[in-house]
Symmetry: C2
Subunit: 201 residues, 2 copies
């Protein structure tokens, strides 16, 4: 069997993902959460402009160009692909940004005003690009909270599951009340800071 | 805020997915499972050429052109997008086709020789198209076992979970030994057959 006949190549696809990343990097920089609510899903990035020591040392704070996110995420409308379109018209991306804003506000050593975001909405059929475009952004920028420091996007694990360990993010930025309930052995603050400041981004 | 500035449109993306579907429809038709094992993930379709009465009546059997699949599926290599590439070189699509062949062989009223398949392998970065291309194929062809008749792709639920109901597929095509262990109330055979033969594909 000649397997070449079964392998699909598409140079056009790479260029579509690249265009999406370019478009993303030219979307307006907004406050987090954005002032107005909006519907739909897509990808977003958070940028940090404050002076948390380890982040300044590691060089992960954003300059004026806002091209080095500290976190990249996606919000995919449920049912987007199955024709069971239950919440295509739900504010899934906006809601996610609000949750992130809440996590940052709760953190004792971060200020929400030192964060801003970009976001890009993708309707059908471009919504199929949400996953690959998020992946491309993470691959390109290796944002700190997606790579070295784990746990920013976590949710309250809920009753009966507090035997987990605190995430690195929660050790670094204490404040989320549910994280304080976790009883597992936490990673060491010093080890996390050393990791961040040693491996320059 | 002007949201248009945040909405990404890409006519090129639609054309990429269309090219992939066209390429797929021109891949060689193979026995299921294919004679030789092969590595990688992608999408596949099964075609039925037998004379199971309800399927003949519903017009879901394949003519010589093999353009109306009875089932479409995907096999996504784990870790394909996270740079934790653990099994990109695993035969995930081939393995899935073997599992399907086994299900069909076990069915008392189906013959494996009445099935054939197409498959399309997608390596990085095209592997990001696996999900949207599978979705496009299902949207285009509404294959019977993806739409009206549920359960072909199911696995043995395992010990402690046999209180589930039998799937429509397992009622229609009895044979998988684990399906016989399910103790939930099964859908009625007559109702399934009526559904298939009434709603012409």
């Amino acid at each position: 069997m000649r397997f070449e006949e079964h392998i699909f190549h598409s140079p056009q696809f790479e260029s579509v993902v690249k265009s999406a990343v370019d478009f993303f990097n030219n979307t307006p920089v907004c406050a987090i959460p954005p002032l107005d609510s909006f519907m739909g899903g897509g990808v977003y990035a958070l940028y940090y402009t404050g002076n948390y020591k380890a982040y300044v040392e590691a060089g992960v704070t954003s300059e004026n160009n806002y091209l080095n996110p500290i976190y990249v995420g996606k919000a995919v409308p449920r049912g987007w692909r199955t024709a069971r379109l239950t919440d295509l018209e739900a504010p899934v991306l906006y809601t996610r940004l609000r949750e992130h804003a809440k996590s940052i506000e709760l953190a004792q050593n971060l200020l929400l005003k030192n964060f801003c975001c970009r976001f890009m909405l993708m309707e059908e059929p471009e919504s199929d690009l949400i996953v690959p475009v998020e992946a491309a952004l993470i691959r390109n920028y290796r944002p700190l909270w997606n790579t070295l420091v784990d746990g920013f996007g976590n949710h309250d694990p809920g009753k009966g599951r507090y035997n987990q360990s605190k995430s690195e993010w929660d050790v670094l930025h204490p404040g989320r009340p549910w994280a304080d309930r976790l009883t597992g052995i936490s990673p060491k603050l010093e080890a996390i800071i050393e990791k961040i400041t040693t491996i320059k981004m």
